[in-house]
């Protein structure tokens, strides 16, 4: 079978354990994230994959403590960054972490940049809130960052407003802002979804080269399996607030074990399927407030058996860090 996967560095940077984020509605509780556990090692690229509404973005926001708390509740779980549990920190403590140790790149760079400030102001502010450095030093670093992310003539661009830049450049500015304080981890929430394909590749290459230069970890949150197959070291597949399969990129792409992952991969267009109708998983994602009993995927699953509607599925270990949350498939494959 596969080689055992070795992360680039041994130490675990981020460890999320049994995270549950619920949102209180008027007469129901939406369990957006319902027991998610994963870890990110130093220097590693981890992808969280799933459809819209499966809880990926809420997971990312929870890591930064940005889940709006009156409707939202962190029902249980631990989020450890090195040795600190982020969930027990005060708001001030979190502000020290945000942008400084963990920063985030957003999906839509036009709305994630403040329209009334120049990009220079915004990047310099990112430095200013965490480090006491002089105006000149900030400006120098800001120009350095813009050069690093490949923006031509950065001195002139400092005085530009976001609407004066192209989409790809805006996303580069977002990346520069995220990098401003040399964070250990960047969370990229669908960083390429709003960009066209050539620019997507540029941004992904940019992130990769920066990552290699600085031993930074990146947590990609995406629904785009194309992105995952280019950048990921390890992959976590999410469905309805749960991790349903995890493993290295090759394990998940070559030997998917969970029916949901198989369905996702089968619905990708490829050369061998030319001219045929594309596969799609029947049904749609369950409402997080009214999830089916047992395995949340069983109403849509082609491999479902009677127990699936009753028993909550546990994680089954395929070895070498490859886990899947589907006991029926596991026992069937063991027998063969």
């Amino acid at each position: 079978m596969e080689e055992a996967y070795a992360p680039p560095h041994k130490d675990t940077l981020l460890l999320v354990e049994d995270l549950r984020v619920h949102f209180r509605g008027h007469d129901h509780v939406a369990r957006a994230v319902d027991g998610v556990s994963f870890d990110v090692h130093t220097g590693e690229t981890v992808c969280l994959v799933g459809e819209s509404g499966c809880g990926k973005t809420v997971t990312a926001l929870a890591i930064l403590g940005l889940v709006p708390i009156p409707p939202g509740v962190i029902a249980s779980g631990k989020i450890r960054l090195r040795d600190t549990n982020l969930l027990t920190l005060t708001e001030e403590g979190l502000q020290d972490i945000r942008g400084n140790q963990i920063s985030m790149v957003f999906q839509e760079p036009l709305t994630a940049l403040n329209p009334v400030f120049t990009i220079g102001d915004q990047i310099m502010e990112a430095i200013q809130v965490h480090e006491k450095v002089s105006e000149n030093e900030r400006r120098r670093r800001c120009i350095g960052l813009l050069t690093d992310v490949g923006i031509p003539s950065p001195e002139a661009r400092l005085k530009d407003y976001p609407h004066q830049l192209s989409g790809g450049q805006r996303q580069r500015v977002m990346v520069a802002m995220a990098l401003a304080c040399h964070p250990a981890l960047i969370i990229a929430d669908e960083p390429t979804t709003a960009l066209d394909v050539t620019v997507q590749a540029q941004i992904l290459n940019l992130m990769k080269s920066i990552q290699h230069a600085s031993a930074m970890s990146v947590l990609y949150i995406t629904h785009d399996l194309g992105v995952v197959s280019t950048v990921a070291d390890r992959v976590y597949v999410m469905y309805a607030g749960l991790i349903v399969e995890q493993g290295t990129r090759d394990q998940v792409f070559q030997h998917p074990r969970h029916p949901y992952t198989r369905g996702l991969l089968a619905s990708l267009p490829s050369r061998s399927k030319r001219g045929k109708r594309l596969y799609s998983i029947p049904g749609s994602v369950p409402n997080p407030a009214f999830k089916p009993k047992g395995c949340p995927f069983h109403p849509r699953c082609s491999a479902a058996i009677a127990e699936c509607a009753v028993d909550f599925p546990g994680m089954c270990d395929y070895g070498h860090g490859h886990l899947s949350r589907c006991p029926p498939v596991y026992s069937r494959e063991r027998q063969e």
Partner: protein
């Protein structure tokens, strides 16, 4: 790092700052330009007026009484031989005539312009500051709840202030400490919270911040504000500063509503989340990141608010509740002139027309600004 192949994009939208764009759109509206022109003229006049009419020996003396020269029409010549040389008006003529005490109306109008300008700007400044603060808090922190111990604590602190003002030092100190204790109670008692049933009601949510502030706005809007101002001014000693403060504190509600509405939509925008994800503090986000995005409608409504404040001040002065008499304001020139409206109509018409023109120009300017800032109205 090498980025040779990465630099592919040829950028460069046409360079135009927001201000330039605003000016370009504003310029198309001729009435607004006239409004701006008169606004600038009024501004200069008021400042010059304040300089020229003050001091021990001013160029234009608004308080100089020449009883033998009373009720002269505009542009009439003074009886030079009957006046001591220092009492002859500066231009050798009474440009706007004289009033029933023979005072030069032109000088008095100059002095009054300064009153109108400062009252307008300071009152609106106060109302905009209060409005932005209240609206910002309501819009950003609206969903947070105040607990009963907050309310009790603030009440005690207020009581302490009142007691202190009445000179009762020890009661005041006691209330101060009780209030402080009440506000910090949550932190102190938190670990044992579940044990103390008698104090449990103190930690119940009483009211959300949004409800508190917006109901306050509703209540303030219920008062007929002119009569509220009249009552307050009647109770307070008459001075220009009291008038400014009272007008300011009774007109912040509109701004609060504007700002809150803007904030409710801005709060959901990505750049606010992005700012928080960078570790920027709440108040910095409110006042540095969100406020510049919400300021446009406030600016527009405040130019119109200046007009309203000038009008209110003129009304108060007309009724005799305004700036105390030796000082001239447009309102009290008007009210002094109303007794001679058939004999000396200029005493009524000159300040009346001045108020009309200034208020109109502020309205036109404000509307022009609104049209220039509102992309939906641009195409007209």
């Amino acid at each position: 790092m090498t980025n040779g192949p990465l630099i592919l994009e040829a950028p460069l939208a046409p360079k135009q700052t927001r201000l330039e764009e605003l000016w370009r759109l504003f310029k198309q509206n001729r009435l607004a330009i006239i409004g701006l022109f008169i606004f600038v003229l009024f501004f200069i006049t008021a400042i010059l007026g304040a300089v020229l009419t003050s001091g021990r020996d001013p160029l234009f003396d608004p308080a100089l009484i020449r009883l033998q020269e009373k009720l002269l029409p505009p542009l009439s010549r003074p009886h030079v031989d009957a006046l001591p040389p220092q009492e002859v008006p500066t231009f050798g003529r009474y440009l706007f005539g004289t009033d029933d005490l023979g005072r030069d109306v032109f000088s008095r109008m100059l002095q009054g312009a300064w009153v109108s300008l400062t009252v307008g700007f300071v009152a609106v400044g106060i109302s905009v500051m209060v409005g932005i603060f209240m609206g910002g808090i309501a819009g950003y922190f609206g969903e947070h709840h105040l607990r009963w111990n907050h309310i009790l604590g603030v009440t005690l602190l207020l009581a302490a202030t009142v007691m202190g003002a009445m000179g009762n030092v020890w009661t005041s100190l006691g209330l101060l400490m009780a209030g402080g204790l009440c506000l910090s109670l949550f932190r102190l008692v938190k670990p044992y919270r579940k044990l103390r049933f008698t104090t449990a009601w103190l930690f119940k949510n009483a009211v959300s911040v949004d409800t508190l502030i917006m109901r306050m706005v509703d209540i303030m809007l219920c008062f007929p504000s002119f009569f509220l101002i009249l009552t307050v001014v009647a109770l307070l000693p008459a001075s220009m500063y009291n008038i400014m403060i009272v007008i300011g504190l009774t007109s912040w509600m509109g701004t609060t509503r504007f700002v809150r509405a803007e904030f409710l939509s801005l709060r959901e925008q990505d750049f606010v989340t992005a700012a928080r994800a960078l570790g920027i503090g709440n108040f910095r986000i409110i006042f540095r990141h969100m406020m510049p995005n919400a300021i446009a409608p406030v600016l527009v409504s405040s130019t119109i608010g200046i007009a309203t404040a000038i009008l209110t001040e003129a009304g108060l002065s007309f009724l005799g509740f305004g700036v105390p008499p030796p000082h001239a304001t447009w309102g009290n020139i008007l009210s002094g002139g109303k007794g001679f409206i058939f004999d000396a109509p200029w005493l009524t018409f000159i300040p009346g027309i001045a108020i009309l023109i200034v208020v109109l120009c502020f309205n036109l300017f404000g509307e022009g600004l609104r049209d220039a800032m509102n992309p939906k109205l641009r195409e007209r």
